[in-house]
Symmetry: C2
Subunit: 253 residues, 2 copies
DNA sequence: CCTGACAATTGACCCAGATCAAAGTCTTCC
DNA sequence: GGAAGACTTTGATCTGGGTCAATTGTCAGG
């Protein structure tokens, strides 16, 4: 069964995507299954399902019963928390291979939203938790990923609590550079995966301030935009300088 | 051997404290060893050492080789990150039962400092990591604690990114209330475990702003100080209102 | 090609909280 | 018990980034 694409019916937008064998999966070596051996992958292959979401769709509502846990296979999703009066703060950014779900808990305390079209590799929560107990390779990797996320959260707290708007945006761009940089290729065209408003939510700013800072970076000759979503870094040293981090903090290998 | 207290010699300030049997340990049911059975505790008992630090001492320097991993038995420690120019942000607050150390990593990316006199229950890192593999009860609990910390970090990010100074301080006081509240007893005397400067570092503010907000809460009749470090909450409803969180967010049971 | 809906930019103005400065208060240690 | 030093409070002033508002792209659909 292969669901038909039907953009008029929002309810129908959860698609079943083309299944890929685990052994050929693009996120094979970074996801929660990274340490699994061939036998373990066979088990996962049997119980996994693919689900797709259109950009803008909510993947998980805060507090809702979490029927599935998932790995992001393609696309970008955001974790956000919202205060009573509507103020919003992004508290996580999920890229391919990142995991959605928390062992031993039936719901999440934030919304998960597709920032672009997203494809997930999902497991029913109950069977997955059982698997977790039986498969140390999975639980070990999950711990490692949680610890990495905690490290990232702590850097993020410094950014939110102490950095200026300029430093925040510079740090954000530097993160994009690091994540998409392929050693050897020097000046890659970078894609902004988020709107100004989403970037503002990530950085604890308003969208206007984000826009003004982008303009400033353009005027300073640090970045150059080809269109709203595509740009190149023209002066990487100046970018690093602008992040406010230690000089040795984000050096590319 | 019981080290002599010698406050003139900073190097000597790491004390060996009185050993307590695991089965009688005050943090027994909350720490990393919470799920261990009697046999497992016997093993821990044999390899643990107690270490004490005076208020203000650094327990672990960022980047230094981590010889021990530890649980906080008594006292309060802070995790802080510092930018080049001296700006500082607290990224964690360790209370009794909290854990210092990260499996699979030989150093930490932040400083750990004793905010009060601190007693640690420590294990050499290498043997502990070996134990971790052999003892699921410990690794499971460690995961759970890391996940809780991640949840807390995300709430903290909302506070840092979106809350006003007043909301930040109210949230901080509310956290103290929750952590020290014993159901039944209505208005406990609360102890401020941190200086104004440390609270400012926690909240992403300056110490002056923290002081002004405390004054405001006093004038509003929300809190009453007996001295700089001791106070009671006089109007808990108003405090909750001031946190900016959902009304149902922090209700005491 | 036009139109409506977003997304982004830019400008004008304002204010919460930072910064700079000066007392005031509590501790600790001779 | 008094002096030194570390915290804390309070005041005056300044400013980075928020808020409000008006344009200006940009693109999908008719």
């Amino acid at each position: 069964m292969h669901a038909r694409i039907d953009t008029d019916q929002l309810e129908m937008n959860i698609q079943l995507a083309e299944r890929v064998k685990c052994s050929e999966c693009p996120i094979r070596h970074r996801a929660v299954c990274a340490r699994c051996d061939a036998d373990e992958l066979t088990v996962l292959d049997q119980i996994k399902t693919y689900r797709s979401f259109k950009a803008g769709q909510t993947i998980v509502w805060r507090g809702d019963d979490l029927t599935h846990v998932s790995s992001v296979v393609a696309g970008i999703a955001t974790l956000t928390k919202t205060l009573d009066d509507g103020r919003m703060q992004m508290v996580g950014l999920l890229l391919p291979s990142d995991f959605i779900g928390r062992p031993g808990r039936a719901s999440l305390d934030f919304d998960v939203t597709a920032a672009s079209d997203v494809t997930l590799c999902s497991f029913q929560r109950a069977p997955f938790e059982k698997l977790l107990v039986e498969t140390p390779h999975i639980s070990q990797r999950l711990v490692e990923m949680a610890m990495d996320e905690l490290d990232a959260a702590r850097d993020w707290m410094v950014l939110l609590g102490r950095k200026t708007a300029r430093e925040k945006l510079a740090s954000f761009i530097q993160m994009l550079v690091q994540r998409s940089h392929i050693p050897g290729n020097d000046l890659p065209q970078l894609i902004l995966p988020l709107t100004r408003e989403e970037i503002a939510s990530y950085l604890g700013l308003t969208l206007e301030t984000v826009s003004r800072q982008f303009t400033q970076f353009r005027k300073d000759g640090i970045v150059e935009f080809s269109d709203r979503r595509h740009f190149t870094v023209k002066d990487h040293a100046a970018l690093l300088e602008a992040t406010g981090d230690d000089a040795d903090g984000g050096v590319l290998v």
